[in-house]
Amino acid sequence: MNEQQAREDIQIIKAMLDKTRKATSESGTLFIVWGCLITLALIGNYVLVYFKKYHWEWLVWAAVTAAGWIFSAVYGYRKDRRAPVKTYIQIVGRHLYIACGAGFLLAGLILPRLGAYSYEAISILVAAVTGILFFVMGGLFEWALLKWFGLAWWAGAVGLTLVKGSDRALLYTVLFIVCYLVPAFILRAKFRKERSSK
């Protein structure tokens, strides 16, 4: 063994780690599906508010959440079963999704229904949990842009406390489009590019 051979060994290690990272990169499918469902819920919410049917707002979100959880569970199970390789990053990522999903369910539906806080506070808490999701994902997948979106969600959570009523709903919608849908589609495009470059 000499220095040249040692460098060749290091190249092998780097190449294998890189290939595995690319093979298991985040597809963004769940992000896009959840993005579509939340967009539907926001539209449904707007329609109900327009017709002053406030009483049914929670039902729209409950239906969307149930649909999202069922899809995520089936998708996750099938993907996991067929995966030729299971990395620790994927395992941590899956637990992050479940933890944040539970956070959304508690902060967005269960706790306000139990009277823990007013419905007005839901968007603030959901924004804070979304910030955690993006920030940790950015760290896991070594993608600084996602961390910045995480920071933007946290700043948005603070911003949401400064406005009320329909202004808060509007700010949340803008936040959702810019800091959720945009990165979800960037993630998807990145995944496709990595797959095609293999």
Binding site: M16, L17, K19, A23, V85, K86
Partner: protein, 103 residues
């Protein structure tokens, strides 16, 4: 640099294919045979031989089962294998000039 400053390399790992297999398994809980074959660009026979050597040394665990009607061979790193891989990395560093080791 004199030769006595070089750390000895583990002969079980010191083969490009076995090193490649362990490099995949270090970041994964498990990987199946076909994935390892595709990633390392090895042939069936060659990969099987090297996997057997790694298993014999206690560095990997091989689990054989069926997925539907298809046979499935899954490999994972053992604690002994993880320790050996770490030691191999440290030994490799001793062959690099000072100041380039972290690069």
């Amino acid at each position: 640099m004199t030769a006595d400053r070089f750390d000895p390399l583990d002969p079980v790992i010191h083969s490009p294919l076995r090193l490649a297999v362990l490099s995949v398994l270090i970041s994964a809980r498990q990987a199946d045979f076909n994935y390892l074959k595709k990633t390392t660009e090895a042939t069936d026979g060659n990969l099987s031989t090297h996997l057997a050597k790694l298993e014999e040394a206690g560095y990997i665990r091989i689990k054989k089962s069926f997925q539907g009607r298809k046979p499935l061979t899954e490999c994972s790193l053992t604690e002994k294998g993880r320790a050996a891989f770490s030691a191999y990395l440290r030994a490799l560093e001793s062959y690099l000039p000072a100041g380039t080791k972290k690069g």
